[in-house]
């Protein structure tokens, strides 16, 4: 049996641990011939989102009984990559992260959605494009704005969503 152990140890050298850092060792210890067992001790910032996207790979055509297309595997893959980049960039910019609501749309592409106060930010991910829609009220013309996301546009979108006027 192989055992993967994770142990947390207090750092006693010059680098003092801070409240938001834990130094840890990961050691693989082979004991017999059984496959390694890995146990997740810490939830990652995208754990919920990744799990939901993974589940969607097995959904079939008409999964919602209203004619929805089977979730597109390339859209799911693109969504996973994209949201990971976004989370990392937000962390670098010291912006607070929240996991999104996530669902496939009617055409099998992925939708991420966040709501904060009266604002909603929706991101639509297909194999080739990433588009956004900002909503701050029911008026289709004056309360909404959409477009294609280029580079790290999402930083400004996140500021708009999270920061009060």
């Amino acid at each position: 049996m192989s055992v993967l152990t994770v142990s947390a140890r207090k750092q006693t050298s010059i680098r003092r641990p801070t409240s938001d850092r834990i130094f840890y060792d990961v050691r693989h210890v082979a004991v017999g011939d059984d496959p390694a067992f890995v146990h997740e001790n810490f939830r990652t910032p995208l754990a919920g989102t990744s799990q939901k996207l993974g589940q969607m790979l097995s959904w079939q055509e008409n999964w919602n009984r209203h004619g929805a297309a089977k979730p597109n595997a390339l859209s799911i893959l693109n969504a996973l990559r994209w949201i990971d980049h976004m989370r990392i960039d937000l962390a670098s910019a010291r912006m607070r992260w929240r996991e999104p609501y996530v669902v496939p749309d009617a055409n099998g592409h992925i939708v991420f959605e966040w709501s904060c106060r009266d604002r909603t930010l929706s991101i639509y991910i297909s194999p080739d494009t990433v588009e956004y829609l900002k909503v701050k009220g029911p008026n289709i013309y004056s309360d909404m704005e959409d477009g294609e996301i280029v580079a790290d546009d999402y930083l400004d979108l996140w500021r708009w969503l999270m920061e009060p006027e």
């Binding site: 609501y101 959605e113 909503v135």
Partner: protein, 148 residues
Amino acid sequence: MVDGAGVAPTGYVADDEFLYRRVLPHYIDWETNPPEPASEAFFDRDFRISVDRAELRGYDPSYTQGGSSNCVCCLLTRSVRKIDEVVKGDSKGGVAMQHNVDVEPVPLPDNVAHAEIFAVPHISNDRLFRRLRHALKRLSSWEQGIAP
């Protein structure tokens, strides 16, 4: 032809009629407090959103619910028709096309209460249709007893 509630369907959905929309668990945003229907709860591949006329359901949303794990949200027809014109811009900043939003009865053999929310002229662009879905999400409210 009458429905189970004993009400004869009319050929026009009045402004003061309430509309029921089934919301599957996948379309509930549990991240908000209280949980809200997601905008995708109002999707339809034909760009016409199916609803039930509450009066013809005897104001019993359980007919629309279609399963104990589903919820039902409610819209007022007047509010739907007041949704601002859905405007598609052109590349020069002008207006390429304007749409109005309406509701009409579309009775089915097994559901005389069925109606559809749609745009005139017909929207065939999902980017534009997303805005309509978000507007409907904002106008909807959970039906008592069938909320998350």
